[in-house]
């Protein structure tokens, strides 16, 4: 761990998108929510790129989204899954104090961050056993495979520095999931990954190949449109509210402009029929499965397994360390409707990971309190 007295102090300033992107590119990975391109996906919020400097070198960066309070020129400064800094540090104050000072000058009444540090991990087998065990209702009821020391150290320091943990339920509409399901790829081959999957997954992947399911990468706007049509169909079937095509077009254009490999549309066809479609995003060695859709017909050709396997293979080929299937709830209750999604993800043989969650620092106590009350009322 680095400690402050040995290092010259950090300073923070507003930066261009190019400087910001250059720092992201220098990192092994960062959340896609911290790329400058993500600002273009959220045009309803004012945004700013900031960088940390030490001795004239850029050593950290963040995308700040400013969410305005109704009728006031004051903002909650939101750094989703960020900032991108040295989270192994024992001197978090040295990093966060200049950030808070800068944001306050920009009119922020509070800051919300999402440290991308893991606090606990559970294996697929533990999750599976937990679901089977009636006494186990939540991930917290199962001792983790591993507790992350760096993550715990971040949590300790945030408490010390007066940051407040935010409950995952309710709260900020854009709140990022604290629990995720990830498939570690580091140092593994396709064979290793396949062997780690449960029998059903392996059988389904094989079956899709035998049935002649073909997975391709989208190449133009019409492919995004095809994804979206199937996604709207999925939304109707599964009962969630779909986003507009325009949201995906904006996202696709912004992320592609930053890096041609950043965002990929995958399409799984059986004969002439589109049976599954997904969007994946990659930053450095981290690949996310972001959106998925599947047809109601022809489920027996196992298009969903085929398309997942194609995305995993792509991630392996790109040298990724992690294939990230994004959020899960922490329920292991077999009666909970969310458990099906976890069971699908668990079949990949990956692991459930808990992140440190989102943390707030009030800068203006009165405004922050009013905002907190407002959000609580909204979510209840």
């Amino acid at each position: 761990m680095s400690s402050s007295p040995l290092n010259p102090p950090l300073s923070l300033r507003s930066a261009s998108s190019a400087e910001h992107l250059a720092h992201i590119r220098s990192q092994p990975s960062a959340s896609f929510l911290q790329t400058p391109a993500w600002a273009l996906v959220k045009p309803e919020w004012r945004n700013e790129s900031v960088v940390w400097e030490r001795d004239g070198q850029i050593v950290g960066s963040a995308l700040v989204l400013y969410r305005q309070l109704p009728r006031l020129k004051r903002y909650l400064a939101y750094l989703p899954e960020g900032p991108v800094i040295d989270w192994e540090t024992d001197d978090l104050a040295g990093w966060l104090a200049p950030l808070a000072a800068h944001l306050e000058k920009q009119g922020a009444f509070g800051v919300r961050i999402g440290p991308p540090v893991v606090t606990r991990r559970w294996s697929a087998a533990q999750v599976k056993d937990g679901i089977a065990d009636d006494a186990v209702r939540r991930l917290d009821d199962v001792p983790p495979l591993e507790r992350g020391q760096a993550g715990a150290c971040v949590v300790s320091q945030l408490h010390e520095l007066g940051w407040r943990p935010q409950a995952v339920e309710g709260g900020f509409a854009a709140g990022q999931p604290q629990y995720n399901f990830q498939l570690p790829l580091d140092g593994r081959t396709e064979d290793d990954v396949l062997k780690g999957m449960n029998q059903q997954w392996r059988r389904n992947i094989k079956k899709a190949a035998k049935e002649g399911v073909v997975v391709t990468r989208g190449t133009d706007g019409s492919d995004l449109k095809a994804f979206h049509d199937l996604y709207v169909h999925t939304a109707e079937r599964d009962g969630f509210t779909p986003r507009q095509l325009g949201y995906f077009t904006t996202m696709y254009d912004a992320l592609s402009a930053e890096d041609p490999d950043r965002i990929v549309v995958h399409l799984a066809h059986h004969e002439a029929d589109l049976v599954a479609a997904t969007i994946s995003i990659r930053v450095g060695t981290h690949s996310w499965y972001s959106y998925g859709a599947s047809s109601t017909e022809k489920r027996d050709v196992r298009g969903s397994n085929a398309i997942q396997w194609a995305m995993i293979s792509d991630a392996l080929a790109a040298g990724c360390a992690v294939y990230d299937m994004r959020g899960i709830t922490d329920t292991l209750d077999s009666d909970d409707p969310h458990v099906g999604l976890i069971q699908f993800k668990v079949g990949t043989g990956g692991e459930a990971v808990e992140y440190a969650g989102e943390w707030d620092l009030p800068l203006n106590k009165a405004l922050y309190k009013a905002f907190d009350l407002y959000m609580k009322r909204r979510s209840s």
């Binding site: 917290d140 001792p143 150290c153 300790s156 320091q157």
Partner: protein, 350 residues
């Protein structure tokens, strides 16, 4: 002729066994007056229960328990580089587990005894002894790992005020974040529900609940405290009596009973209650002779009687108003005491 604690032995022992069986990792605490039983007796009971560790309050209490219990001895008062902590009998020093509550004491302890066994105490919201999470994190871990002495982390929680779980989770997070090479946590004052919650979420930790009151005094029905009536004098209104020659406000009887300030009678240990009423009661007992008679802890036929004056060193004077039943010399009457602040003349276990 004495202030006596009589214990229903079968009932008490089965309570002790029940607690021990339902509390994995239990560490009994024997300190101070030994909760009225005496710490020697509690040490023998810990041996009888087959437990591996006993906690004492201070270093000077070690000799009294060490001969009656042969397991490990945890000292709750933090080690300091001075005083009786440096004079532990070499015959038992390997059985002693020290509590280290300041970073500088760790080095000093290891310099004093390179083979010392110890727990590191983390400060809780009680803020009595203990290090902060940051201090634990920045301890010289290499020096610490060099020896096998680290036996865990100690937490001394305040008495229940709502749930401790949030605070304990935070403290356990500090332990994980520090990288210390232990997953054993010695805790006090957790309810059985809180312990069960922790054992579920932190099944990868070893939790050692330190328990005094809930163990030794957990079944009050097994315990009876009595005093002996030593003398009975009839009183008319206006009669003078006592060290201070007070006069009786009405007629009745003056009872001289065993038990006085030497036993802790009339010396209120703080009840822990902070209500206005409780504080007023404490004040009233302290200011006994300023006003009229004050309620005593002695009761006759289930009715609490008044002190006729402040308790003497080994006896107390009670006032029994005319018309009430008057016990005879030699009779036993019940006394309600704070066990942790009372020394009994005799403890009898049936």
């Amino acid at each position: 002729m004495s202030l006596s604690l009589t214990v229903d032995g079968d009932r008490w022992r089965s309570h002790l066994r029940r607690v021990a069986q339902s509390t994995p990792g239990l560490v009994p605490v024997a300190k101070g007056n030994g909760y009225g039983f005496g710490i020697g007796r509690l040490a023998r009971k810990t041996q009888w229960l087959g437990l591996d560790t006993l906690a004492v309050g201070t270093y000077v209490e070690l000799p009294e328990v060490a001969t009656r219990f042969d397991g490990d001895l945890l000292v709750l008062t933090p080690w300091r580089p001075f005083g009786p902590a440096l004079e532990v009998d070499p015959a038992i020093v390997r059985r002693v587990i020290h509590t280290v509550s300041r970073p500088e004491d760790l080095g000093a302890l290891r310099a004093h005894d390179p083979h010392a066994r110890y727990v590191l105490e983390l400060a809780t919201s009680m803020l009595r002894h203990g290090m902060s999470g940051r201090q634990l994190r920045t301890l010289d871990l290499d020096a610490q790992r060099a020896g096998p002495g680290l036996e865990g982390i100690a937490l001394h929680l305040p008495l229940e005020q709502g749930s401790h779980i949030g605070e304990v989770r935070r403290l356990l997070n500090d332990i994980v974040g520090s990288g210390v090479d232990t997953r054993t946590v010695w805790v006090s004052h957790l309810t059985p529900d809180e312990l069960a919650t922790l054992r579920t979420s932190y099944a990868d930790f070893t939790i050692r609940p330190r328990t005094g009151t809930a163990l030794w005094l957990g079944d009050r029905g097994a315990l009876r405290v009595t005093a002996t009536v030593l003398d009975v004098h009839p009183l008319e209104r206006g009669d003078a009596f006592g060290y201070r020659s007070r006069t009786a406000p009405k007629s009745g009887h003056l009872l001289i009973v065993s038990g006085g300030t030497a036993h802790g009678i009339g010396l209120e240990a703080p009840t822990g209650e902070s209500s206005l009423k409780a504080r007023a009661a404490t004040l009233a007992r302290g200011g006994l002779d300023a006003v009229g008679f004050v309620r005593s802890p002695y009761s006759i036929d289930g009715k609490q009687r008044l002190f006729a004056e402040t308790p003497h060193m080994q006896a107390s004077m009670l006032f029994v108003p005319a018309g009430a039943h008057v016990p005879k010399v030699g009779d036993e009457i019940d006394v309600r005491v704070r066990y942790t602040a009372t020394s009994f003349d005799s403890v009898t276990i049936d």
